[in-house]
């Protein structure tokens, strides 16, 4: 009984250590993506004009949130600037990348026929490939390998005990 408790405590501690490493790993990625600036190191993914910038920015914002990204943090300045930090999956562990997406609308010097100012709407995206898959793989391989070495051989009859029974084919010297 005492041994079982010790075992459970050791494995629980292992799980906690793994979780802490994951949280630190995730934190680093989020910090790195936050430090990027859309002005010079982000990809311009959309660029178009509109006379109703507030609606254009609002629609794009909604599209990013509902269709493309799980938003972690967002900030906006008026109706014409929106920025978010996000990841491709709800959980970082299953996200292939983390993103910083910026939607910005700027007035141009042009007007349409009705005299409305034409705005330039741009969407910038900076992407960092997440190392979550590597982390996931390392954790699973390590845990399962520990298990593979720790389990008693008699608990694995199909691995250690069961064999086809065919003898190593002995060949007479005549055949060689």
């Amino acid at each position: 009984m005492k041994q079982t408790v010790t075992r459970i405590v050791v494995y629980s501690a292992l799980v906690v250590i793994i979780a802490v490493i994951g949280i630190i790993w995730r934190g680093r990625e989020i910090k790195n993506i936050k430090m990027t600036n859309y002005g010079f190191n982000a990809r311009l993914v959309m660029d178009y004009t509109s006379t109703n910038p507030a609606k254009a920015v609002g629609d794009l914002k909604q599209s990013v949130k509902t269709e493309h990204m799980h938003v972690l943090e967002e900030s906006e300045s008026g109706d014409y600037f929106w920025e978010m930090i996000g990841q491709t999956n709800r959980f970082w562990l299953f996200s292939s990348s983390v993103h910083k997406t910026t939607i910005v609308a700027d007035p141009t010097s042009q007007q349409d026929d009705a005299g409305n100012i034409i705005w330039r709407v741009q969407v910038f995206d900076r992407r960092i490939r997440s190392l979550s898959m590597l982390y996931f793989s390392i954790v699973v391989v390590c845990l399962m390998s520990i298990m593979a070495f720790r389990v008693r051989r008699n608990r694995l009859p199909h691995i250690f005990e069961n064999s086809t029974g065919h003898e190593n084919q002995a060949v007479s010297n005549d055949e060689i």
């Binding site: 298990m147 608990r155 064999s163």
Partner: protein, 448 residues
């Protein structure tokens, strides 16, 4: 007259003791799945679509036409890809005409036979029929293997020759018969002709002599080594003839130009672009410009000059940026060993919506499931027999390290590693079955 001699499907599938005949079941399951897939692909793609589906297909077809004297343009293509697959395509064309279906049907058969070979290799290595059958079944159900069998690409033929030569070689190690070593050598030689990337596999075969346990052969290591060496020599000498032909034609002693070419256009381009601090999304244009730069020399027939320039660029880039080189190289290895199959999306675009079925756990275009299962399997086999684990690990490492020079090719680059990946993954699945289904995890914690 004798009733027991009459043919029955039951007798084909089960042996006299009522046990499944794994190879027969595996072959027919694989064959039916691949044949149905091929029929659907052929129904949805005409000849032009098939020949333009993958960039490499067009190169193989031009090389085949050149090799068989149908076309005078194709010298560059033949030099780049080597003679193996173009010969296979050209021979099929000579026998069956312009239609692609005979080639693809033949590939379906070869792919199905490969599944059987995997089962037999696993049985010989691990002496475990259950793992052998599961390994074969993983190969049968592999979407990479299925989609490649219906593609005009080298992988299916190469993989079949690899599995066959490995099976014959291991069989030779246990039986010590000359015929196994000689046929293993011939198949291995053809394998290298089909894909020059396999040119160092003979070294692994030599290592297998010392790693594969053959209890009955304890006093015969000298004899086995001598015969293995003969097999390896055949593997080396057969493709060498093509290298000599290249030396005579182009003054370059090489099997194909694709190795150094890929190192230049992919890995080196990646490193040079990375250190130039330009935006990542313009990389493709840069890489294409680097590729076009060699074409001037190739078109002028100056193969040696193009090859030397490519070599110099690769070496000088490595010397200038060794750290970045290693970083990109290992990043590519990681990408390739976890890449998911995407060929089926080209062949049958409607399948793209069902990709999640094939890869329930994935990160974008990557899934580490097979790799994870393989590494755990390696640990389990390591516990059972260190030498067998090393033998399997060598193949995994060879194809993994080889994949680092290229990227964006999907799962086809690491596909040859299936020869051992399936065995390792099967071991893990059987391990999990024993652990969870048979005994329950609770008992693992409660063990004395």
């Amino acid at each position: 007259m004798m009733k027991s001699d009459t043919f029955s499907i039951k007798a084909l599938i089960f042996d006299t003791s009522g046990k499944l005949r794994s190879p027969v079941v595996l072959f027919f399951t694989a064959f039916v799945i691949r044949l149905i897939y091929l029929i659907v692909v052929l129904a949805n793609n005409d000849r032009t679509a098939l020949s333009e589906m993958f960039a490499d297909t067009a190169i193989y077809l031009r090389a085949a036409d050149y090799l068989f004297g149908i076309n005078t343009n194709g010298q560059y293509e033949l030099y780049m890809v080597g003679a193996g697959y173009p010969f296979f395509l050209g021979a099929c064309k000579a026998m069956f005409g312009n239609s692609f279906w005979p080639v693809l049907f033949f590939q379906v058969v070869l792919s199905s036979l490969s599944c059987v070979m995997i089962c037999k290799i696993a049985d010989l290595l691990l002496n475990n029929r259950l793992i052998a059958f599961v390994a074969g079944m993983i190969s049968v159900l592999s979407i990479t293997s299925i989609s490649l069998s219906a593609s005009l690409l080298t992988e299916t033929l190469f993989f079949f020759l690899l599995t066959l030569s490995l099976y014959l070689f291991i069989k030779g190690l246990s039986s010590r018969r000359w015929r196994y070593f000689v046929t293993a050598g011939i198949c291995g030689g053809l394998m290298v002709v089909v894909r020059s990337a396999a040119m160092f596999i003979p070294l692994i075969f030599i290592a297998l002599v010392f790693l594969i346990p053959s209890p009955g052969n304890a006093g015969n290591i000298k004899l086995i080594f001598k015969r293995s060496l003969a097999a390896v020599l055949i593997m080396i000498l057969m493709p060498s003839m093509w290298a000599v032909k290249n030396k005579i034609s182009h003054d370059i002693l090489t099997l194909s130009g694709t190795g150094i070419g890929a190192a230049k256009v992919y890995l080196t381009a990646q490193v040079l672009y990375s250190v130039s601090n330009r935006p990542s999304w313009e990389f493709t244009a840069y890489r294409d410009s680097l590729s076009r730069s060699s074409m001037t020399d190739f078109r002028a027939g100056e193969f040696k000059k193009a090859q030397s320039e490519a070599y110099d660029l690769v070496v000088s880039t490595f010397k200038r940026h060794p750290l970045e080189y290693f970083k990109k190289y290992f990043s590519n290895v990681w990408e390739n060993v976890t890449a998911i199959s995407s060929l089926q999306n080209n062949q049958l675009p409607a399948l793209e919506n069902y990709s999640g079925w094939f890869y329930p756990l994935r990160w974008g275009y990557q899934s580490p499931v097979m790799l994870i299962l393989s590494l755990i399997g390696l640990a389990i086999i390591f516990r059972k027999n260190i030498k067998t684990a090393l033998a399997l690990g060598l193949f995994l490492m060879y194809f993994g390290l080889l994949s680092g020079v290229t990227f964006w090719q999907g799962s086809r680059i690491f596909y040859p590693a299936q020869v051992v990946q399936t065995i390792l993954a099967a071991t893990t699945l059987v391990f999990l079955y024993d652990l969870i289904i048979l005994h329950g995890v609770r008992r693992f914690f409660a063990r004395k």
